[in-house]
């Protein structure tokens, strides 16, 4: 299994996203699973990776929070929605855990 965090330095959310991701993996008994960090730096890399914003978490290439079909690619902060409807720069930790539980063995 390949767990990957794609991020852009222009958005300050990736340290929190990484901490939440590691906590979610740990809660699933997968704390030893490595997380690959991919820093996206330019438009060429945006296109090559299909980057819709920072942070993006993928398992074997599949987005843990699949974006809408019309979600634009770009070096930007990604918008997540919390269960209560509020906007957040990182996924809700509970929703992240649930998403990973469905994607990981």
């Amino acid at each position: 299994m390949n767990v990957e965090l794609l991020y852009w330095e222009g958005c300050p959310s990736h340290p929190q996203a990484l901490a939440d991701l590691r906590a979610a993996l740990d809660s699933l008994g997968l704390g030893d699973l490595p997380v690959a960090l991919t820093r996206v730096e330019d438009d060429e890399q945006v296109r090559a990776t299909g980057f819709v914003g920072s942070p993006t978490i993928r398992v074997d290439g599949a987005d843990a929070f699949p974006p809408a079909d019309d979600e634009p690619l770009g070096l930007a902060c990604r918008v997540y929605r919390l269960p209560d409807g509020r906007v957040s720069p990182t996924p809700d930790p509970g929703q992240l855990r649930d998403a990973l539980a469905l994607m990981l063995p």
């Binding site: 300050p12 634009p72 930007a76 902060c77 997540y80």
Partner: protein, 171 residues
């Protein structure tokens, strides 16, 4: 940026020129913001509440979008106008298409909050409060700065670190 902020005149979403004119208000709050940034969106309601709560005290709030709309179409004038027409702004939303104002003000993030006194000097610059994720904080750093300024006191904490998405500069 020096303590005296640079003047500006920018169009709102109707094209009406709007000037900073700090002498016309007891205090002026300038918020660099945008449409697509989760930090700006997370703090937005709290900033609107400040605009409403302090209007009777003579405080004027101006939102400014300086992002490069060519590379970030969600920050276009059309997208700004849609949000204004949906009633999402309690204060004018100005378009800094050339990015000249953001550069002169040395704005860094969305949001980036500036409080200006009636004499045109900068009284506060930074984040609205300590946590974009906690609405209960109610933009308290900004409110404290306004309370101090309106009371004629030195602002307790005149500088905090702005937190948010980087301003999207043109290449």
């Amino acid at each position: 940026m020096t303590d005296t902020v640079p003047a500006f005149t920018l169009p709102d979403t109707d094209g009406t020129p709007t000037s900073l004119s700090p002498e016309s208000a007891a205090a002026t709050v300038v918020v660099f913001t945008c449409n697509h940034c989760p930090y700006a969106l997370a703090w937005h309601d709290r900033l609107n509440d400040v605009a409403r709560d302090y209007a009777a005290s003579g405080v004027r709030l101006l939102y400014v979008n300086s992002n490069d709309a060519e590379r970030y179409p969600r920050d276009s004038l059309a997208a700004m106008t849609e949000r204004v027409e949906r009633g999402e702004f309690a204060a004018p939303y100005l378009h800094d298409q050339s990015q000249a104002v953001a550069r002169r003000w040395e704005a860094r993030t969305t949001p980036d909050v500036f409080v200006v006194g009636p004499d045109g000097t900068l009284a506060y610059r930074g984040a609205p409060d300590a946590d974009h994720g906690d609405p209960a904080l109610r933009a308290q750093w900004l409110r404290t700065a306004l309370d101090d300024l309106l009371a004629g006191r030195p602002v307790t904490n005149p500088r905090t670190e702005p937190v948010g998405c980087s301003i999207k500069w043109r290449p």
